[in-house]
């Protein structure tokens, strides 16, 4: 099952709606609850990252019988130093993002902790692609 969602930068009202849909879908398909939770926490952090940092993004979800693959491709400023961004506590979030309860530099480390396979690729000035795979 392949699904595609559009996400707009700065749209905090709808941030999390993709993750919510994916959670409902995984539950309906009877995926183990611990895998559902790990997946949606990783996805939600990544979805909020698009809203917080990018101009817009596309989230593609490929739900297969034995795994879920999620690709979040955004158009935005990109990440200059991915290894630095993976460090807990490092953040470039705005005051507005921090007021929403995020921006403590825990997003990418938490995505990593909740993904079986995580790939992050970024081009400064163009955007970032995050790929999450979780096996069932």
């Amino acid at each position: 099952m392949l699904l595609e969602y559009q996400v707009n930068g700065g749209d905090f009202t709808n941030a999390g709606s993709v993750s919510s849909n994916v959670k409902k879908m995984m539950r309906q398909l009877g995926v183990d609850s611990s895998v559902v939770k790990r997946t949606v926490v990783a996805l939600y952090e990544a979805e909020v990252n698009i809203v917080a940092h990018a101009y817009r993004g596309v989230i593609t979800v490929d739900l297969q019988p034995d795994k879920i693959y999620i690709k979040l491709a955004d158009e935005g400023p990109g990440i200059a130093d991915i290894s630095q961004a993976m460090q807990e506590g490092y953040s470039t979030a705005s005051v507005a993002v921090r007021e929403m309860g995020f921006g403590a530099g825990m997003g990418l480390p938490n995505i990593k902790a909740n993904s079986d396979i995580l790939n992050v690729n970024s081009v400064v000035g163009k955007g970032t692609t995050v790929e999450i795979t979780n096996n069932f």
Partner: protein, 115 residues
């Protein structure tokens, strides 16, 4: 501890949640940082005490599977938050007490810390 008891102890009120008579909270976690909430591994019977009142608080709890939320410092639950919480079968409460005061009261009444 029953939801009604929590509400009575913190001088609060129930904003969202039906048929909560048989539900019990045994542990609590206090934070305004949703990134912290998203690191919670087991949120069963857990109360989140927070002063952050926006839709992302509810979304975060949906993902982290936190069902019980107590908003402190007089923060108000909006209609949008209420709708989202209802969709996710959550229980929302409000109190004018500070986070410190609420945490102290609940700790003194045997609600266990998460960590």
């Amino acid at each position: 501890m029953k939801i009604d008891e929590i509400i009575a102890l913190v001088g609060g009120r129930l904003i969202e949640g039906n048929n909560t008579e048989n539900e019990e909270v045994t542990r609590a976690f206090a934070s305004d940082l949703m990134s912290d909430v998203l690191t919670i591994k087991d949120a069963s019977s857990l109360l989140l005490i927070t002063g952050l009142a926006n839709t992302q608080t509810i979304r975060t709890c949906e993902m982290a599977e936190v069902r019980y939320v107590l908003f402190v410092r007089g923060k108000k639950v909006t209609d949008e938050m209420k709708e989202l919480a209802e969709d996710n079968n959550m229980v929302l409460m409000e109190t004018s007490y500070s986070m410190y005061k609420v945490a102290g009261i609940l700790y003194a009444n045997n609600i266990q810390p998460l960590y």
